[in-house]
Symmetry: C2
Subunit: 304 residues, 2 copies
């Protein structure tokens, strides 16, 4: 059964891990966010694609929630010593990957092809696709000014309140090869419990992806990233309150109107009403098994 | 007393260390070889400039003769795991510097300015200048074919016999800012005990540098890299035998005709005759003090 997952970073990657466990690996295509990509120290970093890759390959630092387990920081400390920036934390193991990606991109290889090589090197059968091979960057408008995503999220510890989000380059971005085909062929489309503005928004901002989802044949089911109206991690609850007026399931579904048929919510947020079907379950992914159970629930809602 | 040193990598850097000890640091300008620069893993590496920098800053791995002491290799091993090349050994500490250099070069900063920043970050007062900011690359023609320098030197462990050396880009290369001024202002010009073909040749291949040296006012003294007709390290003796017909002091001075006034040779190579003055001393730099004594001897020969 072919399934497509739209996903951001940490929480999305944990959900992807559960979904890959629930399916035959080869049946899963993940469309990953690239809006939080950045150039730092001359490296092209794709944090969300890497979180997917590292999580699915078992390389992720589970405690920290990002980057690689057993990471060391020698190169970054050295770079800072020579005048380089070190606010974005890249470990030595991680830099190994970033060097390979950056070299390939500069040689003209598309991000989707680079990502396929990296997945193959990690012996993954899950297909990981960037939403687009084109340049698409999330910017946030905050109380302290306008910032490229990572400068706000990491550089400023996402402390400034966000008033608006903008996806630079989205109007001119085409879906990466395979994205539209995967959506067309899918028996189910899922949206991971990721931040609608920062993780899924950039994917939906690619016009042809949004159109393909709006005219989908398969059902599309999102999983809410909120538990009891609070974000499990990150700034989503504050963003939803400010930008959508609240943190109920309806505030989440309104981010996805026209794109999803149902939202899986946590029992802590039920009962609730929204413009699409709501299904309550336990959404907190304490471990890999919990992620698999959540994925199975979402698949069940999608496939009936 | 202003002194200019033309230098390559390892041996040249050790001599530079001794020369810096013999002078007021600020009086020394080193013109470094860039013919062995390479792009690897998307990084612009300048091995000879780095050997100078690391040696003068006390960072060099003395045993190995290149790279940094206390180095680790995590990023390189990781890069290889993701499909990157690992035949050129870049450690984590070293990669920190290479990231900073590469990012600056890609932003349009000249190599000479990058090098000045790196020297300043290492608190060096010695002026390290690349021979040129332009692209200049040494290629060797060998029994096994034509190779870019590092592919032969490191990649093939410089085992193939060299028939000819070519300095790609030299005809169009201009001296880096400060090189001609330093030569004009110098009270003495020294050539380090480096490989004439691979280390000093690329510097002399920059036409304006050669012309400046040919019309020098100060005396120019080279130090022979041979001891008893053998290279202390590297392929020079084999190259000299094949390309110049022997490994006596005269074979060395012939590499520098028109450019030097005297050659400091090892006692093991004396007595000998050549087209320029020969001065015998102990040239093996067993330690920093020996390097200083050798530098003082070369200065004495240059200044009379």
């Amino acid at each position: 059964m072919k399934v497509v997952l739209l996903s951001g970073g940490g929480g999305g990657a944990r959900f992807a891990r559960g979904l890959a466990d629930a399916l035959s690996e080869d049946d899963l295509t993940i469309v990953g966010n690239v809006g939080d990509d950045l150039e730092i120290l001359g490296l092209h970093v794709s944090p969300d694609l890497d979180s997917l890759l590292y999580t699915l390959a078992g390389f992720i630092d589970v405690e920290r929630g990002w980057g690689r387990a057993g990471e060391t920081w020698t190169a970054l400390v050295s770079a800072a010593r020579w005048g380089g920036e070190d606010w974005f934390r890249l470990g030595d193991l991680d830099i190994g990957l970033q060097l390979v990606r950056t070299e390939m991109l500069r040689a003209g290889v598309a991000l989707s092809q680079v990502t396929a090589q990296l997945a193959e090197k990690a012996s993954l059968n899950t297909h990981i696709l960037p939403a687009t091979d084109d340049r698409l960057r999330t910017h946030v408008q905050t109380s302290a000014g306008d910032f490229p995503f990572q400068e706000w999220f990491v550089g400023r510890a996402h402390e400034d309140d966000v008033y608006a989000v903008r996806y630079e380059g989205a109007d001119d971005a085409s879906p990466a090869p395979g994205v539209l085909e995967a959506i067309a062929d899918a028996a189910a489309i899922l949206v991971a419990p990721s931040n609608p503005y920062l993780s899924i928004g950039p994917i939906l901002a690619v016009n042809e992806i949004r159109s393909a989802l709006e005219s989908r044949r398969a059902r599309c089911v999102a999983v809410s990233p909120l538990v009891g109206g609070k974000a499990v991690s990150g700034p989503l609850d504050r963003m939803l309150s400010r930008m959508a007026g609240g943190t109920t399931p309806a505030h989440v579904t309104d981010c996805y109107l026209g794109v999803i048929d149902a939202l899986v919510i946590d029992r802590a947020d039920a009962p609730a009403a929204a413009k699409v079907e709501l299904v309550a379950t336990t959404t907190l992914m304490r471990d890999r098994d919990a992620a698999r159970r959540l994925a199975e629930k979402a698949l069940e809602v999608a496939c009936g």
